[in-house]
């Protein structure tokens, strides 16, 4: 009666299951709250500056605030919360067995997990940050830059943090360590560190799209999109290998 499950079907089943597991009222409320607060700060600061300064200076301030709050805190933290929980929660509470001991290849499970993380974290971050960019009212460049950087950042962070959830027990702690220490400190003082920080790519997208110079934002748009895409592929491949070698409780 049992048969093997096709790759597409396995992706769809995993995606549906994990989205349902990830979306809890508490998580969504808390993270949306953070997103809304950050958006309000971005919007208020930009508008306040805009009243006293020129349009160009207002744009620069809006971009700086958006980059520092939106893409340094909101996008990575929201992605971390959902992506690390995608398999991390199942691994910890012993329910991964209901996905693992099935006639399904491992890679569709990894892809389904990544898509589930993105499906939840992208709307939670994209909506408030885009609204903030609109309220800031400093030009359509910031709106489009925000949308693109948000999509790229979510895709890349979700893949990396999903892998982290499979590799470590305290993935949220390790993830916050990466965001604060690696992206916050090491990336600023080391060339290699900068290349290995997703934040550099999202900031580069903002800088490239708006024409405003940003700290850690000196990569071309092509590189800022292609490298995170490669990061996604690498993280999903490593997650697949981890699922194969994992000891399941």
């Amino acid at each position: 009666m049992s048969g093997s499950v096709s790759a597409l079907r396995a992706i769809a089943i995993t995606h549906r299951l994990l989205v349902r597991q990830l979306v809890t009222k508490g998580r969504i409320a808390a993270l949306l709250g953070v997103g809304v607060i950050v958006s309000l700060v971005v919007a208020l600061v930009s508008r306040a500056v805009g009243e006293d300064e020129s349009a160009e200076e207002a744009l620069e301030v809006g971009i700086e605030v958006m980059s520092n709050l939106g893409f340094t805190i909101v996008v990575p933290i929201v992605s971390l919360v959902f992506a690390s929980a995608a398999f991390g929660d199942l691994k910890e509470d012993g329910t991964l067995v209901y996905l693992w001991l099935r006639p399904m290849d491992r890679w569709p499970i990894a892809v389904g997990g990544w898509l589930a993380s993105v499906s939840v974290s992208l709307p939670v971050t994209l909506v408030p940050l885009t609204v903030a960019a609109l309220i800031a009212d400093v030009g359509s460049e910031l709106v489009w830059a925000t949308v693109l950087a948000c999509v790229v950042g979510n895709l890349a962070y979700s893949a990396v943090f999903m892998l982290l959830g499979l590799l470590t027990k305290n993935s949220v702690v390790w993830g916050i360590g990466y965001i604060l220490i690696w992206e916050g400190l090491v990336a600023g003082i080391s060339g290699v560190g900068e290349k290995l920080a997703i934040r550099g790519y999202t900031r580069s997208i903002i800088a490239e799209q708006t024409g405003v110079d940003l700290y850690l934002g000196d990569l071309s748009l092509g590189i800022a999109i292609v490298v995170p895409a490669l990061v996604v592929v690498a993280a999903v491949v490593l997650s697949t290998l981890r699922l194969r070698s994992l000891d399941v409780a």
């Binding site: 009666m1 049992s2 048969g3 093997s4 499950v5 079907r9 396995a10 089943i13 299951l17 349902r20 597991q21 509470d93 012993g94 329910t95 067995v97 209901y98 996905l99 693992w100 001991l101 099935r102 006639p103 399904m104 290849d105 000891d247 399941v248 409780a249």
Partner: protein, 324 residues
């Protein structure tokens, strides 16, 4: 069920249970977690029918089951299910049904949703119909809107069983499946196990309760301290255990006088007095039971308490492992 031809041997060298058509083949399997050896050099084969895996908590039963399912790899040796390694062959994973020991379920799902999901992840042709049928097997209502997170322990056990059955597996691995069930449910589930075994399925059912094992299956594998200490027919195991020396604690108002009378009349094989309690060793517990009251009455000794101290499963395993 075609019962494996087997013979129960005393330790220290348990033989494998041999079968004509092995579904499970375990050869010299050892599993270590750091310095802790959970399973040590275990070998056996199991064919269709119900086989009970008996062992105290922490004996290595769940680790053995996890290796059979491919959930963890053995440190040494080979484990094959239907001729393949479940960890490496996805089609084999589709022919296994596992009800794990841990209580974890997807708590936000209803029983129907959970079992239907199990069907879809197994690629069954009609997951909805199969889920309803599996839930009916375990006396659960597919229309129940309650989430499994709100279920009692017994109901959760039955949900796990239904999920394990949904793909009509060739090998059913049930880790302590009767825990939390009331007596009526236990009887129902044991009957279901036998029906499935009679239908040609291979069922491996673990338990740490001796009397439960007697009803689960006539074929037993006994595991203790990570080693397979006995295997074969349950009745032979029971006889072996009944032959072991029993220790009984007797509280009376004259322990020494009673001890010498019991030994003098051959009712006890050994006696010791500790903290006013008389500890009796006897190979014939039935005779001891019949004799202790008349002898005490004859001597004018008042009995306060007669308690067997080693009727627990641990002592049975200790005897099988160490012969003491």
């Amino acid at each position: 069920m075609s019962a494996p031809e087997s013979s129960l041997e005393p330790p220290p060298a348990p033989p494998p249970v041999s079968t004509a058509r092995p579904i499970v083949e375990v050869q010299n399997v050892t599993k270590s977690f750091g310095d802790v050896v959970a399973v040590s050099d275990v070998s056996f084969t199991v064919g269709p029918g119900v086989t009970a895996l008996l062992g105290p908590n922490g004996a290595g039963k769940s680790t053995l089951f996890r290796m059979l399912c491919g959930l963890t790899a053995p440190s040494r040796g080979t484990v094959r299910v239907l001729g393949e390694k479940a960890r490496e062959h996805r089609n084999v994973r589709g022919r296994i049904g596992l009800a794990p020991q841990q209580d974890a379920l997807l708590d936000r799902f209803t029983a129907y949703e959970f079992v239907e999901l199990a069907g879809r992840t197994h690629g069954v042709a009609d997951p909805s119909g199969q889920a309803r049928q599996s839930l009916a097997y375990v006396d659960l209502d597919p229309e129940d809107p309650k989430r499994v997170g709100a279920y009692s322990k017994g109901m959760r056990q039955r949900v796990k069983l239904a999920a394990a059955l949904v793909n009509d597996p060739d090998l059913l691995i049930l880790d302590e499946p009767l825990t939390g069930l009331d007596p009526v449910q236990r009887n129902r589930m044991i009957s279901l196990f036998h029906d499935l075994g009679d239908g040609g399925k291979c069922l491996l059912v673990s338990s740490h309760v001796l009397d439960e094992v007697a009803r689960i299956g006539s074929n037993v594998l006994v595991i203790a301290q990570g080693r397979l200490v006995a295997s074969g027919d349950y009745r032979r195991l029971r006889e072996l255990m009944d032959d072991r020396p029993h220790r009984i604690r007797v509280h009376s108002d004259d322990a020494r006088k009673l001890a010498s009378a019991l030994i003098g009349r051959g009712v006890a094989d050994g006696a010791a007095v500790r903290e006013n309690a008389l500890l009796i060793d006897t190979l014939n517990v039935d005779r001891f039971g019949r004799s202790i009251a008349p002898i005490s009455a004859e001597l004018g000794i008042r009995l306060r308490e007669v308690v067997p101290t080693d009727d627990d499963l641990e002592s049975v395993f200790r005897y099988l492992v160490e012969r003491r």
